[in-house]
């Protein structure tokens, strides 16, 4: 019984839940090119406000910062924390690739072997994939990040056209 729970609530998840990384809102959505999104899980009410700041250097668009304010369960909070660790500092293209790998893991119903090289602490969520009701929790922050990043890229591209 406890083993089933432990498969879901890995120590890594509980650690991130108690001490979330990169939490708090940074940047200024109205001024410095930071994009802010607000995502909710309508079935349970979990919410995240998330900001993404992209920065281009040497022709590579990078995830400069991801900051957030969120309310929700341990899975959604920990997953968002792990996500920020994984994407901050990475080129956007590579970060999107990590997002894809995490999404595949979550949608695999427990059949996908997680790749620690790519997902690092994110492998702790492999057990979540066996709990269909919780997959949405684990994806809340990731989906918000993808949305904000896509919006930011669109804005950047439009900004480029104006120059």
């Amino acid at each position: 019984m406890s083993a089933e729970l432990d498969a879901l609530y890995q120590e890594i998840i509980l650690d991130h839940y108690k001490n979330p990384h990169h939490k708090g809102l940074r940047g200024d959505p109205s001024a410095d090119g930071t994009v802010e999104v607000h995502h909710v899980n309508p079935t349970c009410g979990d919410e995240v406000t998330l900001r993404v700041h992209l920065e281009e250097a040497d022709g590579v668009l990078r995830v400069q910062d991801v900051s957030y304010d969120a309310v929700g369960c341990s899975i959604s909070q920990a997953s968002t924390s792990v996500m920020t660790d994984l994407v901050i500092g990475k080129p956007v293209e590579e970060a999107m690739g990590v997002h894809e790998v995490f999404l595949t893991l979550m949608q695999g119903k427990g059949s996908v072997e997680p790749d620690e090289e790519v997902l690092e602490d994110g492998i702790a969520f492999a057990g979540v994939a066996k709990f269909p009701a919780r997959v949405k929790c684990a994806l809340l922050g990731w989906m918000a990040w993808k949305d904000a990043t896509s919006q930011s890229m669109t804005t950047t591209a439009q900004g480029g056209d104006d120059d």
């Binding site: 019984m1 406890s2 729970l5 009410g45 341990s74 899975i75 909070q77």
Partner: protein
């Protein structure tokens, strides 16, 4: 324990699902009855028998099965009418669910007719409603230019009735509220609010989705000035099937409201230019109705009537009092709603400091205990308590004190598991 149903063991045997176990072989502790109730064998059998032996469309099939199906369907209406003490059986309209019943009223009140809600009019609801008794009225008032106002509630989960003179005025056309709150468990003063609303000529719409399963309802016995104009509830919370809801409405009101959905069954005659409409109840039942569901619902309300709604209510109160006492032993647990079992229904929402409701529900589920976690379709009410969601246990006729013990023990375990406190 006083108040429990006398033959609780026998009652439990009526519900076959209670005999199953979890995947780990644990007994099932079902404490999510405010979400949907379990079904007794007699309801299942009534529906299977209808499908096996009497199935046909109703009111239009001129053959043996058609006559039997019509009789069974209309028999369901008679039973529901008796269950709520409807002054007339034709005032009972079958809908898809309680939400559709509320939408039927809210939508038709926006159409041409003597009760049409328009600019300057006020519709009053409350802050403790299920979303299904907020959103349809938002849609009505937004569409018509009327104003939506609402009663707030206090920390004890009681409506602030000091607002009554301010909210219920000559401008008020509709007053709608839940009889028993699905989140707080609060039992609202139906008679008092209805009387006040009627004094200004407002129509009173009561959501009885949580009341019908637990409280004896006798509409005909209510003084007419204290009797709501419309009462709605859903079949699946009164041990009946999903797919069927009930709208009871005062005949004179229903006759003055325009039809809701157009189609078969709700007409008298149809030409290509125009139609005339059927009388009650069929005027509001376009298309093939939920036939086997009505048969099941009839069996369901008969089952509850057999137990006796006074006995059902007493059982609910005994279990609720026992649960409130048990929950009180869990450190860091706060009940959202009234703490006096005699003043409330059987749904108890709570928060557990340091553990999110999702995580509470997950740990309980692993131990075979089914509760609901989330906003229970009552976000505004949660916001009032400064929380975004809660965990809710809700009992019913088959709930035992032992199951409450299991819940309380599992909540202690949950705190340990998440190393709280």
């Amino acid at each position: 324990m006083d108040g429990l149903l006398p033959d609780l063991d026998v009652v439990r045997k009526d519900f076959p699902i209670l005999g199953r176990t979890t995947v780990d072989g644990l007994p099932l502790v079902y404490l999510d009855s405010a979400n949907t109730s379990q079904k007794p064998q007699v309801v299942i059998d009534a529906m299977v028998d209808h499908l096996e032996r009497h199935n046909a469309n109703v009111a239009r099939a001129m053959h043996l099965l058609g006559a039997e199906a019509t009789e069974a369907f209309e028999g369901g209406r008679d039973k529901v009418a008796a269950f709520i003490g409807a002054p007339e059986r034709d005032e009972v309209i079958f809908t898809k669910n309680a939400s559709e019943a509320l939408n039927l009223v809210a939508q038709t009140l926006g159409l041409e007719g003597p009760h049409r809600v328009g600019p300057g009019d006020v519709v009053v609801t409350t802050e403790m409603e299920h979303h299904s008794n907020i959103v349809p009225w938002q849609m009505l008032t937004q569409r018509t230019g009327a104003e939506l106002r609402w009663f707030t509630f206090d920390e004890a989960g009681q409506l602030d009735l000091s607002q009554v003179d301010e909210l219920i005025t000559e401008r008020t056309k509709v007053v709608t509220f839940t009889w028993v709150s699905n989140m707080l468990g609060t039992v609202n003063p139906v008679a008092e609010l209805t009387r006040r609303a009627h004094e200004v000529g407002a129509i009173v719409v009561v959501d009885a989705s949580q009341a019908a399963p637990q409280l004896p309802i006798d509409l005909a016995a209510m003084p007419v000035e204290e009797r709501p104009d419309v009462v709605v509830f859903t079949g699946h919370k009164v041990v009946g099937p999903t797919g069927i809801g009930v709208l009871w409405g005062r005949r004179s009101l229903l006759e003055e409201l325009p039809p809701f959905l157009g189609g078969g069954e709700m007409i008298e005659t149809v030409t290509m230019e125009r139609s005339t409409y059927a009388g009650l109840p069929h005027k509001f039942e376009a298309g093939t109705p939920p036939i086997v569901e009505a048969v099941g619902l009839g069996a369901a309300v008969d089952y509850l009537a057999g137990l006796g709604m006074d006995a059902v209510h007493a059982h609910e109160q005994a279990i609720t009092a026992y649960a409130l006492e048990g929950l009180g032993t869990v450190p860091g647990l706060r009940v959202l709603g009234p703490l006096d079992a005699t003043q409330r229904g059987g749904a108890i929402s709570f928060e557990l400091a340091g553990v999110h409701p999702h995580d509470v529900a997950q740990v309980l589920d692993v131990r075979g205990i089914a509760v609901r976690a989330g906003h229970h379709c009552a976000r505004p009410a949660h916001a009032k308590f400064g929380v975004q969601s809660s965990t809710r246990m809700s009992s019913y006729v088959y709930t035992t004190p032992g199951e409450i013990d299991a819940l309380v023990e599992a909540l202690h375990y949950t705190r340990d598991y998440f190393k709280v406190g």
